[in-house]
């Protein structure tokens, strides 16, 4: 099995309320040195044969990410 990892992140200009909520909670843990938090998704695709990065990119573009608001990054996990 070969694993391809797709990371999906909201584009920087898109508001991330989830990340903001976490950032607002950090001072309550005594953490003051983190300026901002952004939350994304990590998606793991297990290929039955050789990892196909092109195919993974197509899947990410069509389904896993909404490229209107999100960007994605695809890589083979060693």
């Amino acid at each position: 099995m070969a694993r391809v990892v797709v990371d999906v992140m909201l584009k920087p200009e898109i508001l991330d309320p989830q990340g903001q909520a976490v950032a607002n909670a950090l001072p309550r843990l005594g953490v003051t040195e983190v300026a901002s938090v952004r939350i994304g998704k990590r998606i793991e695709l297990e290929f039955t044969g050789e990892p196909d990065l092109e195919k993974a990119r197509e899947i990410a573009d069509k389904l896993l990410a909404n490229t209107v608001i999100e960007s994605f990054d695809v890589r083979v996990e060693k």
Partner: protein, 227 residues
């Protein structure tokens, strides 16, 4: 005239949407997400209330259901399509409407009677209103925050494609108080509030009651049915 209402696994406002279609004088036709034909309907409503649990993003997986493939083709050919709440999310994911709907900026689910301003009446679904009319329609959503890039927002404004805007407070943080938009042709409309819940005086919101019914009578009028 037949108005088809799609039921996705998880839809919960499909019954109300069919009832609204009936109250407006149409024959309501139930469409199942796995149907590969539209049963000869003259218009389609994608109702609110979750599709496939919206596991990945709201509407992202529903957009690939067999019935949606037919609806995308038909909408591009001029079929009137209204997406309400989750239906709006499905229309954005299907690229029939621009932009995307994100989690409410305050992170809370919001449900209340919502005052709206009708901004555009040149659509199949809003022709029965007057421009600038203030109406009340219930809103209930967790992911109703409309987002698009500045260029898209400017284009929507310039082309009169913002159909309705929130008044007296924005319930979800959507950009420029946008509650609903239309496609270029005006046959496809996405709206976050729920017009199907404002179609009868007994159960409709205070101060509005039946304001939502006009969306359903509008589409019948656009199809040539006299009120």
């Amino acid at each position: 005239m037949k108005i088809g209402v799609v039921t996705f696994p998880g839809s919960l406002d499909d019954g109300d949407a069919r009832r609204a279609a009936g109250l407006a004088g149409a024959e309501a036709v139930q469409l199942w997400h796995a149907d590969a034909d539209l049963k000869g309907v003259d218009a389609v409503v994608l109702p609110g209330g979750f599709s496939y649990g919206d596991y990945l993003r709201c509407g992202a997986i529903a957009r690939f259901s067999p019935v949606m493939e037919k609806i995308i083709d038909a909408a591009n050919g001029g079929l009137p399509v209204l997406g309400i709440c989750n239906g709006f999310q499905v229309l954005c994911e299907a690229h029939l409407l621009p932009g995307a709907l994100l989690r409410n900026s305050h992170l809370h689910f919001r449900n209340r009677d919502q005052k709206l301003k009708v901004e555009n009446t040149s659509t199949a679904w809003t022709s029965g209103y007057t421009e600038g009319q203030e109406i009340v329609i219930p809103v209930k959503n967790g992911e109703g925050c409309y987002q698009a890039d500045e260029h898209t927002l400017d284009a929507l404004e310039a082309e009169g494609r913002v159909v309705m805007r929130y008044l007296d407070g924005n319930p979800n943080g959507s950009q420029r108080d946008i509650a609903g938009i239309r496609n270029e042709a005006g046959n496809v409309v996405g709206l976050m509030p729920h017009p199907e819940h404002a179609t009868e005086a007994l159960t409709g919101p205070f101060g509005g009651g039946v304001d939502g019914l006009v969306m359903f009578t509008s589409v019948l009028a656009s199809l040539g049915v006299k009120a």
